[in-house]
């Protein structure tokens, strides 16, 4: 009979939470569809730093080098040469006015310096504040130097080979000058079973993030509302235990978040074409663990917040921390060990790692994340239950 009554109470919480959520469709749409719409737009619209930089090449007349645009365009991979100029001042003016992205300055006496045994410098001037863009320009500059160096070497070897042939050494041309100048060339082979794409890479992370944010926010708001409105007093007088309240909430919001999670996963796989290579049941287990840990975190947030506003602020802070530190945008290995350790406190850190692995690689490369998520779920639920028990206890 007692167990039967416990079941009635749990079902009451489950039903109540679900009805309350359904009665607020606006909040639901913004919580669930919002992040996915942003991801979809981001995925379709993001082009990254792949666009060539608009550049002016400054060729001083005393260099004796050609001044036709085509010659330099062939050498300048990643650059779109818009003009060839004889002096650097007008080119730099355009760079300062941000009409172009880069200015390539050819040394005035490159050939003479080379013959004299001196290294010449090809300057690549840029005007950026974004560190990513600066790094990208650095790569382009290195590539440009390599190309120019190869061209020079190939040219010198070609001249030498011609002289050798004229001198009767026909074997001198057995190896082409271009191969001697560039004996190796890179070939990138990606062993990943999926082709890297923005939507595929960020999609699983968004799924994990949405689930954490949704579960955390809903349970925290529900709990803080009950605490501040005095409903807890009703629970206290009724034959209801703190454990029943906690389990009821976890079940109620768990069922709801499972539905949302399943729909979101279907949206990712079927509409946004994100691959799902791993075992779907293992993925479901990972998402369930993430959900329980997030609900536990939500309970804690709901218990320490004195108002709905504070609960929302805390939820947003956790969301912000998750975006920056959980490996959503920047890989966790790029952070210093203390910060990375703190990031591991967030359930979504493990969730992103596991969901990405399972969806994009088909297996879990670091199973300890599963253990961490399980431990976190158990700990947060116990903390939430103890906090609830304390909240329902007498003053």
């Amino acid at each position: 009979m007692i167990l039967f009554q416990v079941a009635i109470r749990l079902l009451a919480f489950v039903g109540k939470e679900l009805v309350e959520i359904i009665r607020r469709p606006g909040a639901l749409v913004s919580l669930v569809l919002g992040p996915f719409l942003i991801l979809a737009v981001f995925g379709y619209g993001f082009r990254g730093l792949g666009d060539p930089l608009r550049a002016i090449v400054v060729v001083p007349p005393e260099s004796g080098l050609p001044t036709d645009l085509a010659t330099y365009q062939d050498l300048a991979e990643g650059l779109t040469i818009t003009a060839i100029m004889a002096s650097r001042e007008p080119a730099e003016r355009q760079l300062n006015e941000r009409q172009v992205d880069a200015v390539v300055v050819i040394p005035s006496n490159a050939l003479g310096g080379f013959i004299a045994g001196k290294q010449a410098t090809i300057e690549l001037e840029i005007n950026v504040a974004n560190p990513e863009e600066q790094a990208y320009a650095g790569v382009l500059a290195a590539r440009l130097a390599t190309k120019v160096n190869s061209a020079i070497i190939a040219h010198v070897i070609g001249v030498g080979q011609s002289l050798a042939v004229k001198a009767g050494d026909s074997a001198a041309v057995q190896i082409p000058a271009s191969v001697i100048a560039e004996p190796t060339r890179p070939a990138l082979v990606n062993l990943s079973p999926t082709t890297p794409a923005v939507t595929s890479y960020y999609g699983p992370a968004v799924l994990a993030l949405v689930l954490q944010h949704l579960a955390l926010t809903l349970v925290a708001l529900s709990l803080v509302r009950e605490r501040t409105s005095g409903l807890i007093e009703l629970f206290r007088v009724a034959p209801t235990s703190a454990l029943e309240v906690v389990i009821g909430k976890v079940l109620g919001f768990g069922i709801f978040a499972t539905v949302i999670g399943t729909a979101s996963l279907a949206l990712l796989v079927l509409v946004l074409r994100v691959p799902l290579l791993g075992d779907p049941w293992l993925l479901a287990s990972v998402l369930a663990l993430l959900l329980v840990a997030s609900l536990g975190l939500g309970l804690v947030v709901g218990l320490i917040s004195d108002s709905e506003r504070q609960a929302v602020q805390l939820s947003l802070l956790i969301l912000l921390a998750s975006v920056f530190f959980a490996g959503f945008i920047l890989p966790l290995r790029e952070f210093s060990p203390p910060v990375a350790a703190i990031a591991n406190i967030l359930p979504v850190t493990h969730g992103i790692e596991l969901v990405r692995d399972l969806m994009l690689h088909g297996w879990v490369s670091a199973p300890w994340h599963l253990g961490a998520l399980g431990l976190m779920s158990a700990t947060l639920l116990v903390v939430g239950w103890l906090g609830m028990r304390r909240g329902m206890a007498r003053i």
Binding site: Q5, R9, A12, S229, E233, L234, V237, A238, P239, R394
Partner: protein, 338 residues
């Protein structure tokens, strides 16, 4: 009529026993040495102004608070450790609206019924019954947020009643409710009492004391009077009050000499108010004395001062007593100076 609130410790059949309960919050005393008992099958009104300590008392009785000093027993148990059995017998209506605004009236009552473990069919029946009882049958599918203030109070009352409790704690059930609805609620509360339930009701409407079987008047955290309403009125006024209108010259000294008369107050040139032990026995004696003195009695009536007056008189008397107590406790500073 026996006193419905008593101070002495009584057997466990008395549903509510409070003995010398004191409640302090951060150095402030919300309740000061409160003692009272509530007999079964009665309505006890805890009456007092806002901030007097009524809600604190209810929260002590429902186990939300533990007294800093003293003891509280409800249904023979310590509210801090209510057994599930005791909880099943208690209905509680908090002072503020605490239900779920997005749920309908019926869903709210159903949820509370579920908290008490009522099984499905009984729950449906009880939800229907209590909504009918509080006149919310037509609004059963309306969201609680869309109900008027009065309807929300009735909805909370329905929630407090849904599991059929024998002991009800209702914290200001008529606050913010219009007079017509207030009367209806009181009719319902009387009906519940007549069914044998025990009700402890707080109210800041002093006049509602008349509706209760017993009243505990509370001010500044202290119970300054506790008795049946009529006893309280007599206590406040020093006895029954008889108003007499007469024509002709009245002999004040002769009237004061009547043994049952305690005090006489002139209301106007022709009307006097007599404070007597018992109006029924004193009135003929007063009439006889007036007519005996050669004057003519035009009318007599028993005066029933409102509970506002009763409350004011009792509070004033309590303050005076406390001032005297404070003065007698104070050291004789004149002597010290000398």
């Amino acid at each position: 009529m026996p006193s419905l609130i008593r101070r002495a410790a009584k057997p466990a059949t008395v549903p509510v026993v409070v003995e010398g309960a004191t409640m302090r919050f951060n150095g402030l005393t919300a309740l000061d040495d409160v003692s009272l008992e509530v007999n079964p099958g009665t309505i006890v009104g805890v009456v007092g102004p806002s901030g007097a300590g009524k809600t604190t008392l209810v929260r002590l009785l429902t186990g939300a608070l533990s007294p800093s000093r003293g003891a509280v027993r409800v249904l023979g148990e310590d509210p801090n450790r209510f057994s599930p059995r005791a909880r099943q017998k208690i209905g509680y209506m908090p002072q503020l609206f605490t239900l779920y605004p997005d749920l309908t009236a019926a869903e709210n009552v159903d949820f509370v019924a579920s908290l008490y473990g009522l099984i499905l069919f009984r729950r449906w029946r009880r939800v229907r019954e209590v909504l009918e009882l509080v006149g919310l049958s037509d609004a059963r599918n309306r969201r609680a947020a869309h109900l008027s203030g009065g309807m929300q109070r009735r909805l909370e009352l329905a929630c407090a009643l849904v599991h059929d409790p024998s002991m009800l704690f209702l914290d200001e059930p008529t606050a913010g409710v219009d007079p017509i609805l207030r009367e209806r609620i009181w009719t319902e509360l009387h009906r519940l009492r007549d069914e044998g339930r025990t009700l402890l009701i707080t109210t800041q409407y002093v006049t509602e004391a008349e509706e209760c079987d017993a009243v505990a008047l509370i001010a500044e955290g202290r119970v300054i009077a506790h008795s049946a309403p009529d006893e309280m009125r007599r206590d406040a006024m020093g006895g029954d009050l008889v108003d007499v209108e007469a024509a002709g010259r009245l002999d004040f000294a002769a009237l004061e000499a009547i043994p049952v008369v305690r005090r006489i107050r002139r209301l106007d040139d022709r009307a006097l108010r007599f404070t007597v032990d018992d109006a029924a026995t004193a009135t003929p004696l007063i009439v006889e004395a007036i007519t005996g003195s050669g004057a003519e009695v035009r009318s007599t009536s028993e005066a029933r001062p409102s509970f506002d007056e009763v409350f004011t008189a009792l509070v004033a008397r309590d303050r005076l007593a406390r001032d005297r107590e404070t003065a007698s406790d104070a050291p004789d500073t004149g002597q010290e100076a000398a």
